[in-house]
């Protein structure tokens, strides 16, 4: 999804270049004072920098004249020039320090802002956004692209500013010393351009293929290492190595070529510079001999020609950097511009006297244009437990996503306590509706904080009580750090079963009116499973609940079973009623649940 988008993005890059730049500068508005200050400082610094060669040149002239006139060198005049230059140098030191420091602040503040906005945006987009964009590409934008922007802003921007000012200042001085020599120095510009034009596209081509092979190689490595046991046990090493070698070779070939071509640019630029340097030395020397310029001016001019060429050759590099930064900014802005969840401004009709807890009325919904759920109606009483049963793809998960308002319905209405949920703040909906999901997401932090996640005002006693109610207290106590045990990034340090119990404890602490449960089918051993069932039953007690059922116990416990097929309710009733109907439920029951019965024959009696 993302890569193709990136491709087209780069294609239209030039068109959006200006707009993106404008928008990026918009982010620096808060720092606009600082930026103007930097420009002023940069101008001051550059002027001082440009002045000093001329003054040093004057010193040389002074010495030269002193020698040739045999009157001796005027050491006082020399001293005063040198002191002035020293002051200038100190000035340059201060200004260039300030300039870098300020731009650092600006760059950091800008990316700080970008990062925060991006994070905030992730809270605003609908859940469907995460189905469309892979975590990998989102992470890459949040980490790499933002980093890239920070670096380029900091380096390229100061260099661009001072570079441009230096070039202008230097040209002025050079022109002042000798217009003819200046023309000679300007040969550098077309010369450098030719070098860049010839080598940069080649380097770019190879670099691009280098990065592509790098990506390929990384995924090859990643896959082999993640599927380590399988590769080993199928004797797949040789084949993997072959594939690896192929990509590795491409990477080597394109890598060194790209480096070589981009490595050639600098020396060739320097060659152009040196040729010009020699020409200026020779012609300048001739001028000095003929007396049209002083020796000091010639020395100054040589220094100027170097000051002139170094920003010139670097400008192209920084320009390139800036372009990639803008490409990064474009990807960031693309995310920032993604569609947010709708907030309804119009009021939907509520039904104040509704006695049922949850009412779904003629609900229709589809992730795409094609409706997945059509004309779905269901009324649930307070405290009722509804089990949802159906084959994969029948719309079970979609239904609970709608109840949580992760997606907005396309037609009909959902009411909780008589209130249309679209009239409520999403926050309020979710305060009423709690859930325990199939994927047991815990964040990196202590177990205590993870349980408290459901309600940050919970007192310690409530946390411990919730853990006890979920039968996980004992396990936690046994850990060396108890409740303060820090869970790793994917909570790899505790088992799947314990994770589920902690998520149940979390739901206890949240204490919602309505509970949604997507039962896990994961590999939990039967004794742990039994504990989970007990904890779940406790959690469900006295609450209105919707359970996507995978457990036998759930369908027995349920007040009502809703059988779904292709987004519609096909049957409802209790387990016994439905079984006697000899319809879809019976079929599902036998394929999904009934297996457990076999084991018990001869034992339960």
């Amino acid at each position: 999804m993302m890569p193709s988008k990136k491709e087209t993005k780069t294609a239209v890059k030039l068109k959006n270049l200006w707009q993106t730049t404008k928008r990026l500068t918009g982010f620096m508005k808060k720092s606009s004072l600082l930026i103007s200050l930097t420009i002023v400082i940069a101008i001051m610094g550059t002027i001082m920098q440009v002045l000093s060669p001329k003054l040093l040149g004057n010193a040389t002239t002074l010495i030269f004249k002193g020698v040739s006139s045999k009157a001796g060198i005027d050491m006082h005049a020399l001293a005063s020039i040198l002191i002035t230059v020293t002051v200038l140098y100190i000035g340059v030191f201060i200004t260039s320090f300030l300039q870098e420091r300020i731009m650092n602040v600006v760059a950091q503040k800008t990316t700080y802002e970008l990062r925060n906005q991006l994070k905030a945006k992730m809270n605003m987009v609908p859940v469907s956004f995460f189905d469309k964009n892979s975590n990998g590409s989102l992470m890459s934008i949040a980490a790499n692209d933002i980093d890239n922007i920070a670096n380029s802003l900091q380096q390229s921007l100061t260099q661009l500013i001072s570079g441009v000012i230096t070039v202008i200042g230097v040209i002025c001085f050079m022109f002042y010393i000798s217009p003819l020599l200046t023309l000679l120095a300007c040969i550098m510009v077309p010369g450098s351009l030719v070098v860049v034009k010839i080598f940069t596209p080649k380097a770019k081509k190879f670099n691009k293929s280098y990065y592509k092979s790098m990506g390929d190689l990384n995924s090859q490595i990643e896959e082999t290492y993640q599927g380590f046991s399988v590769v080993k046990s199928f004797n797949g090493e040789k084949k993997s190595l072959q594939k690896f070698d192929e990509i590795n070779k491409n990477m080597y070939e394109s890598g060194w070529k790209g480096k070589f071509f981009s490595g050639c640019v600098m020396p060739l630029m320097i060659l152009v510079q040196n040729v010009v340097y020699v020409l200026i030395s020779a012609v300048g020397a001739a001028f000095v001999v003929s007396g049209s310029i002083t020796i000091g001016d010639m020395q100054a001019f040589l220094q100027y020609s170097q000051q002139f060429s170094s920003p010139l050759s670097r400008l192209s590099m920084f320009w390139g950097n800036l372009l990639t930064a803008i490409a990064s900014a474009e990807r960031v802005f693309y995310l920032l511009d993604s569609e947010e969840m709708e907030d309804y401004h119009k009021a939907f009709s509520n039904k104040k006297d509704e006695t049922a807890k949850v009412v779904l009325k003629n609900v229709s919904f589809g992730y795409t244009e094609e409706p997945l759920i059509k004309d779905f109606s269901l009324t649930v009483k307070d405290g009722e437990m509804v089990a949802i049963v159906g084959h994969t793809g029948s719309g079970k998960t979609t239904l609970i996503n709608l109840l949580q308002r992760f997606y907005e319905i396309k037609g009909g209405s959902i009411q909780i306590d008589g209130m249309d949920i679209r009239n409520l703040d999403r926050k309020d909906v979710r305060k009423k509706v709690g859930m325990v999901l199939q994927d047991t997401w815990l964040f990196s932090g202590t177990i205590y904080d993870n349980i408290r996640y459901g309600n940050k005002n919970a007192r310690p006693e409530q946390i411990y009580a919730a853990a006890k109610a979920s039968y996980v207290d004992e396990f936690i106590q046994k850990l060396p750090d108890g409740y303060n045990t820090v869970l790793g990034e994917d909570a790899g340090n505790i088992s799947q079963g314990q994770k589920q119990l902690i998520t149940i404890a979390r739901a206890f602490v949240a204490d919602p009116d309505i509970l949604i449960l997507d039962e896990a089918t994961s590999n939990v051993d039967s004794r742990t499973e039994l504990i989970i069932q007990k904890a779940m039953r406790r959690l469900l007690k006295g609450r209105t609940s919707f359970v996507v059922a995978h457990r036998l116990s759930t369908i027995y416990d349920a007040d009502r079973i809703v059988v779904m097929e292709q987004g519609n309710i096909v049957e409802t009733g209790t387990h016994k009623e439905l079984l006697s109907m000899d319809g879809t439920y019976k079929d599902i029951y036998q394929s999904q649940f009934a297996g457990n019965n076999v084991t018990t024959t001869g034992f339960t009696a």
């Binding site: 040389t60 599927g227 060659l271």
Partner: protein, 571 residues
């Protein structure tokens, strides 16, 4: 570090350095010639000499260019080739790991070491080949050339160097801990952002968006503050070095003027010395930038060599035996994970023969997967032995053992590519017909045949475009396709519904009637028909027998059965 240097091809490195020397020599000699031009040409008004000297200088520049272009030609090849070799070496080494070594690292760090760390070392080599050699040359060359022009002036440089060094050391001392902190904070920022993505549903369900944002934003603030602090210190660096060298220029001017007035020096000499100042500055700046990279590179080198130096715990014996009979026996086997205090498995004894099915059941952490890993020799036993056909598996060639055993790990693992490619892993010369039979056996043929491209349908990264049950069935098909003697299924039926589970098992039974089948499962229904059931309890064999036998007499087994039948009792 030394080991890296030893690895580099000496011949080509010499060539690269030669070109570099050529380049530096030319660059060093140019100002010297300028001085000559001023002293003998300009001062004396000899235009002819000026042009002659100018011609020489252009010639010299061109020679320098040859060095400058050929050096990257040689050195970039050295660096990239070096990286390619190291990368391959790591990959090959990891592929030779047993599970034991693999666990010591874990997939995540192996991946970073094989990719990022190698790139890090590559850039160190690249920079080293260039700057580490060029910068001392500029430094020393500049001083030597100035000494040649005027010993007195060169003293100024020598006096300036301690200042330069102490200046950089101080800055480095202050900045380095900050950079370490920045890295930690950056990792934390990325972690929080990633958690926001992986936990989006939970975060929203609990209405925690603002809290998550605050957490992220606070770390972002910390990060920004630290980055600004570090940046401020680094902002000192370049201007400071420039200032020090500029002051050197002024001192040179002053001393030079004094010498000239005494008649011991010429004007051109001063001009050349000033140019050398610029070159020394360049050399110094390059040197510091390389030195800053070295510690980072060294960490990477260390991390790479940790892999390359890892001794292999499982290696083939010199003389290997191929078992003739099909049977599997555990003889008083003890096993513990490296470094673990407690034994994972203790005193395991059983034997099964051709055509039989062994089922293993027990709670999480009771050692079921460990037991299976021992069969495939992903680990070695601590005591006792695992025998196939009466032969200790440590005496069998690993490649051969892998052909004898066909394993389906707990986590369904599919590789990017097509269904065909994934199946061919098991049997490279399998025909389409054979593949379809395997798919049929695992109840996967139905959904595969519905796919537009059939066997050539694309499998995305980690099989992302298939459901859990479909992935499991594809993995089972792959296991069945292999012509093995022992087929192992580690909880490979968990995502299948009861109907499919039963169907797969019954078709398997026919296909594997001459082989040994090992099944790990949670559901009693999956294993109750096995010839032999091993009940594991805290690493020990708590029971061994058929379903009926165990049900009658084994309390652990009864408890497991009871827990699954729990509801039935109530109803």
């Amino acid at each position: 570090m030394l080991r890296i240097i030893k690895r580099l091809p000496a011949g080509r490195v010499t060539i690269a350095i030669t070109f570099l020397l050529l380049q530096v020599a030319c660059a060093m000699y140019l100002p010297y010639m300028t001085a000559d031009m001023v002293n003998n040409g300009v001062t004396k008004g000899d235009i002819g000499f000026i042009w002659k000297q100018g011609g020489f200088m252009i010639g010299l520049t061109l020679i320098g260019l040859v060095g400058q272009v050929l050096n990257p030609y040689v050195s970039s090849r050295i660096a990239f080739n070096f990286a390619a070799e190291i990368r391959r070496e790591i990959y090959e080494k990891v592929l030779s790991f047993s599970k034991n070594e693999y666990d010591k690292f874990g997939a995540a760090t192996l991946i970073t070491r094989n990719t990022n760390d190698v790139t890090q070392v590559q850039s160190l080599v690249e920079m080293g080949l260039k700057f580490l050699i060029i910068s001392p040359l500029y430094l020393i060359g500049g001083i030597v050339m100035t000494y040649k022009l005027s010993p007195r002036l060169s003293m100024v440089f020598i006096a300036a160097i301690p200042f330069l060094i102490s200046g950089s050391v101080i800055i480095y001392k202050f900045a380095n801990p900050l950079y370490e902190k920045i890295q930690t904070l950056l990792d934390k920022l990325n972690l929080y952002f990633r958690e926001g993505l992986t936990g989006v549903k939970v975060i929203r369900a609990f209405g925690k968006e603002e809290e998550e944002y605050a957490k992220y934003s606070n770390t972002n603030m910390d990060y920004t503050k630290t980055a600004i602090k570090a940046g401020t210190i680094m902002s000192f660096f370049t201007p400071l070095i420039t200032l020090l060298l500029s002051l050197t220029t002024i001192i040179i001017m002053w001393i030079g003027a004094d010498s000239i007035s005494k008649g011991t020096m010429e004007v051109g000499t001063i001009m050349a010395a000033i140019t050398y100042t610029a070159q020394i500055l360049l050399g110094f700046a390059l040197l510091t930038s390389v030195i800053l990279v070295i510690p980072k590179g060294q960490i990477s080198i260390k991390r790479i060599y940790e892999i390359l130096d890892m001794p292999l715990s499982i290696q083939d014996l010199k003389e290997t035996i191929t078992p003739a009979k099909k049977s599997l026996e555990f003889d008083q086997v003890d096993f513990r994970y490296p470094g673990a205090k407690k034994k994972t498995l203790e005193d395991i004894n059983f034997k099964i023969n051709e055509g039989q099915t062994l089922a293993i059941i027990g709670s999480t952490g009771d050692g079921k997967t460990s037991l299976i890993n021992l069969m495939a020799r992903l680990y070695d036993v601590e005591k006792g032995s695992v025998k196939i056909g009466g032969i200790d598996i440590r005496e069998i060639k690993q490649k051969k053992l892998n052909n004898i055993v066909s394993l389906t790990p707990q986590k369904s693992t599919l590789f990017m590519g097509t269904i065909r490619e994934n199946l061919l892993m098991a049997k490279p010369d399998a025909t389409d017909e054979e593949m379809w039979i395997a798919l049929e056996l695992s109840c996967a043929s139905q959904f595969v045949s519905k796919l537009k491209n059939g066997l050539d349908s694309v499998i995305e990264k980690s099989g992302g475009n298939f459901s859990g049950g479909q992935k499991q069935r594809l993995c089972i098909a792959r296991t069945l396709l292999k012509d093995a003697d022992i087929y192992i299924f580690d909880d490979s039926f968990s995502a299948l519904d009861f109907k499919t589970d039963a169907a797969v098992r019954s078709s398997m039974k026919k296909k594997l009637s001459n082989a040994i089948t090992i099944i790990v499962a949670q559901r009693i229904s999956t294993i109750m028909n096995a010839d032999l059931i091993a009940v594991l309890d805290k690493g020990k064999l708590a029971g061994l027998g058929t379903h009926e036998e165990l049900l009658a007499s084994n309390p652990v087994y009864q408890e497991i059965v009871n827990s699954q039948a729990y509801k039935e009792v109530i109803v």
